[in-house]
Symmetry: C2
Subunit: 361 residues, 2 copies
């Protein structure tokens, strides 16, 4: 590719003459004023005469001028870009959160860099590194727990970028804003409901230990509900599957359903509606009837619930509210001119009963 600079106006590219993007310098030359005057006029600075402002704005429009935000950001040390790291936009829990975050951000002059982590600490770390290089003003993340262990004095902590941790209970010693659902209570509700309906052997579908705060919390709630009922929890009823990718999830679900012969559980509590969906699919293939021979409780209460057959009983997480809080808190911190007091917002989940649990076993 051959590029020649020609009088600061054109570039000869591939033999064709193309316009170089105009800069304030070009506008200044045409208007016969200094570049700082242009800069001020376009920023609607008070001490510039209205005439000049009008003239300069017209010139800018005529030239199809667009400010180079890179230069501005480099200078003022603010990018108005927010990094958003979610597990996977294809999980129906995330689109509404993403949409709300983007809408609010846009309204307040920020843009969103979208990243998918798949709950994979390594992907998460890579993105974090990229986002820091890009000088994001703030970060919203559904973090794995490893991020805290690996990066305590590392990426997030070291750079002190305003951060909202979503779906994570506060971690001792880690400063940051936390917005989450009380997942301990969520699983507690699910277990309690199942126990009340006579279920005894209830599996909790979760992941490898120490992956996600929300899952650790769910385990606690699960255990607590049993304890309150005076029932001992068997270790094998906590099932650790692979959540990271679709194939892995299917494999795990198959494995779990095969175990039904040995451990005769009657119900599964999932950590998301997506897991429940896979259970429905695999159960159908194995001729296991839901809810007659297997009860299922989902998590998130996404619109999948009403479309599944039978409709899925699920623990409602207020996705919209989580997104709202996250973006508002983040922008507040970014724009705060006084020392920031970190916020923790938690929501209480509710059980939404549909028809995937067998009554009065």
């Amino acid at each position: 590719m051959y590029v020649y600079n020609y009088a600061n106006v054109c570039i000869v590219l591939w033999g064709r003459i193309m316009k170089k993007s105009p800069t304030i310098k070009d506008i200044a030359r045409k208007a016969g004023v200094n570049i700082s005057t242009v800069s001020r006029a376009l920023a609607d600075h008070p001490h510039i005469s209205e005439d000049k402002k009008k003239q300069i704005r017209k010139l800018a429009a005529d030239l199809n001028y667009h400010r180079n935000d890179l230069a501005k950001s480099l200078r003022v040390k603010k990018t108005h870009v927010i990094g958003l790291i979610i597990p996977d936009i294809q999980n129906p829990f995330y689109p509404s959160i993403t949409r709300i975050i983007e809408d609010q951000a846009q309204e307040r002059g920020y843009n969103i860099l979208l990243c998918h982590s798949d709950f994979d600490p390594q992907k998460e770390n890579n993105y974090l590194s990229v986002l820091l290089s890009r000088q994001i003003d703030g970060l919203i993340i559904f973090p794995t727990l490893k991020i805290f262990r690996n990066n305590k004095r590392g990426i997030v902590a070291g750079k002190k970028i305003p951060t909202v941790f979503l779906d994570t209970a506060p971690l001792p010693g880690i400063e940051g804003n936390y917005v989450f659902t009380d997942n301990k209570h969520g699983s507690y509700l699910a277990v309690k409901y199942l126990l009340e309906n006579g279920h005894k052997s209830i599996v909790l579908f979760t992941s490898e230990k120490g992956l996600l705060s929300s899952l650790e919390q769910m385990e606690e709630g699960y255990i607590q509900a049993f304890r309150e009922a005076g029932i001992r929890v068997q270790n094998k009823c906590i099932f650790r599957g692979e959540l990271e990718e679709k194939k892995g999830l299917e494999r795990s679900v198959k494995k779990l359903l095969n175990k039904k012969k040995s451990i005769n559980y009657s119900a599964i509590i999932c950590n998301s509606d997506v897991v429940a969906r896979v259970i429905y699919e695999q159960a159908a293939l194995m001729d296991i009837n839901i809810p007659d021979s297997l009860s299922v409780v989902g998590y998130d209460n996404t619109f999948l619930c009403s479309y599944l057959d039978p409709p899925l009983t699920s623990v409602h997480q207020p996705g919209d509210a989580l997104g709202h809080q996250a973006i508002n808190i983040l922008i507040s911190q970014i724009q705060s001119e006084i020392p920031w007091q970190y916020r923790t917002v938690s929501f209480t989940p509710e059980l939404v009963v549909r028809n995937s649990v067998k009554q009065n076993v």
Copy 2:
């Protein structure tokens, strides 16, 4: 906010001493070399001795150095950022496309700025302007048709940013890459299938004239199918609803269903599965049975289809393939060192038959 620069190492902020992000200058000073040496070492330039490289890399890691990409981008005139403008991530057609685009981009060193247009030309324009200011290297957009009329010599065209137009048949005189489904054929298939099943009065649910290329195409296919069958199309069978926002869509659907008494149509062809879903919802409220008193054909063949009751017959659009093509073409153009030959890729849709159409009327 009071900020003091102190020896280029620390900043006193809100009374606390905070580390300023280290720059290559800091590394250079510590290593006792010139900043250009550091720059070269970190870029793995060939003419730097291995010893120095090692030393400098270690120093960078120790300082938790992250290159300032703003400065780099400003200098090299490449941001490695791609703008993605989609209507709404909450429509289940878009998450998989988005995911694929982001994945491929990330793999090749690009990041995605996510924008929601809601098919609103004004929002679209605003985002375009923002993205240009941000100096994106490329753009993927589901455009409204107005963009072409308003910006022929304007935003997109004027700046010559590599662009992939998604879901739009090529527009005469507008250069760019086009990736789309042959929606003319899609609606043709739907009408043909309905006619074969004895339906006579078939409504096409579309939007205001001239909003989207895909909808204009659908109209053509719709008309063609009738013409081939020797049936005259009545104007009132092309229904123009509001797609932009949820409330508007519901209102339009209600209006259309109310018309069933006057125009006794037996089937509706939707321009998306989401529209079909709203029809299902409203029909249920109005005690209209699907498919007995109303047949519905969806569009996109998203996973909604199998979850709706009865399962929705829908025209399949290969979302994944669209996303794949779009991002690959875009990055190819961005990285091309020779004059770019614009590409047009179209996919042929298929009708996926389920149970939402009454047979042999």
